[in-house]
Amino acid sequence: MSKTVQYLSQIAAYLQVPSGKITFDSFSLPVRTHNNTSVTGFLNIILAYLKESKLDVLLGKTPEDKAEIYQWIEYADLYLQRPNASQIINEHLPRLNGVLLKKTYLASNKLTIADVVLYYVLLSVMANISHIEKEKFVNISRWYDNLQQDDLLRQGNSLINFNTSFLCIIAPAHH
């Protein structure tokens, strides 16, 4: 749950809106309270952020884009937040890799909030996977590498090295 708070505050920071006070209700759903209004649920909170930030472009243009983006956010909420890293690596990254083979961004052909959410949710996993795995999930690596170039999105996190010529990293030369 603390992870959820962290993701939401990072997303809010990216959108440059106050993240508000995040609490959890009896179903352990996140509740955001800000200016005496409260919003419940991961997706709804993100949508509330977007509304405040007026960055509607991140929600795509067509209803289809929007639907796809909602699905990605719910996917991130349901499947990527709870399990441990190895579960994500073994079950979800192969699938995501297959999706990103054909796409530059998750939904539509532009950076959307779906990419932003998955960037933060996957950050701890991506920062710790081995170079072999980065090579194996080359489509994810490409997508992630492209996302992390945005300073605002990265928020001071260090750039993850996706360099494919990593022999020097595996076997550093000692003199």
């Binding site: 054909k102 530059t104 539509s108 052909n109 080359v138 690596s141 490409r142 492209n146």
Partner: protein, 224 residues
């Protein structure tokens, strides 16, 4: 890493692997390099080039007006010679300035000497050649002609290939060589006069029979 002409199969293959870990040709946003390459692609990349196809679909999602707003980016395969030359010349300049270690000056002297010797040799060779009776240079070539699938009519394919007539081209024996999965490739010999027939042209001519021929490779090339 660079890639060549994206209109060729080989170039496309390299382009595909180039884009494997990159979203755009240059940097992390679409640039004019993407637009240029997009324009030079004549057709949509085949499904066997998923990375090139993804890139193509992504770039084609932008409208023409949006494409114009892209930043100027250097295309690696176009700028490659320039970037190679640039450091060399700066190095040379640095070398000239540097009095202690003048690595390049001596090199240049040697180069001049080498060029002189080479020119002399070339001249001698040309003289020797001109004295010889005119010998027609011929090459014996074995071509591998690959069909699309096992249903391609190999007889018709051979007939079409043999129907190509050029001055200085003589077709020789041919045979079908199984490649696997019931597919055969046509191996055909021919003798060409080097001065009259360009092998590239011949390959192109064969590849024009698109209904039968998927690709043509040179299996063996011998000067006679």
């Amino acid at each position: 890493m660079t890639f060549g002409d994206v209109t060729t199969e080989q170039g496309l293959k390299e382009f595909n692997s180039y884009l494997e870990d990159k979203s755009y040709i240059y940097g992390f946003i679409p640039t004019q390099a993407d637009v240029d390459t997009f324009k030079s692609l004549k057709k949509i990349p085949a499904g066997s080039y998923p990375h090139a196809l993804r890139w193509y679909n992504h770039i084609s999602s932008f409208s023409d007006a949006e494409k114009k707003t892209f930043a100027v980016g250097s295309c690696p395969f176009k700028s490659a010679p320039a970037t190679i030359q640039a450091p060399a010349s700066t190095k040379k300049a640095a070398g000239d300035d540097d009095d202690d270690v003048d690595l390049f000056a001596s090199d240049e002297e040697e180069d001049a000497e080498a060029i002189r010797i080479r020119e002399e040799r070339l001249k001698a060779y040309a003289d020797k050649k001109s004295k010889k009776p005119e010998l027609i240079a011929k090459s014996s070539i074995v071509l591998d002609v690959k069909p699309w699938d096992d249903e391609t009519d190999m007889k018709k394919m051979e007939e079409s290939v043999r129907s190509i007539g050029m001055d200085g081209l003589i077709w020789g024996a041919s045979k079908l060589v199984p490649v696997g999965y019931g597919i055969n490739k046509l191996q055909i010999m021919c003798v060409v006069e080097d001065a009259k027939v360009s092998v590239d042209l011949l390959q192109e001519e064969i590849e024009k029979f698109e209904d039968f021929v998927q690709s043509v490779d040179i299996a063996a090339f011998n000067k006679i």
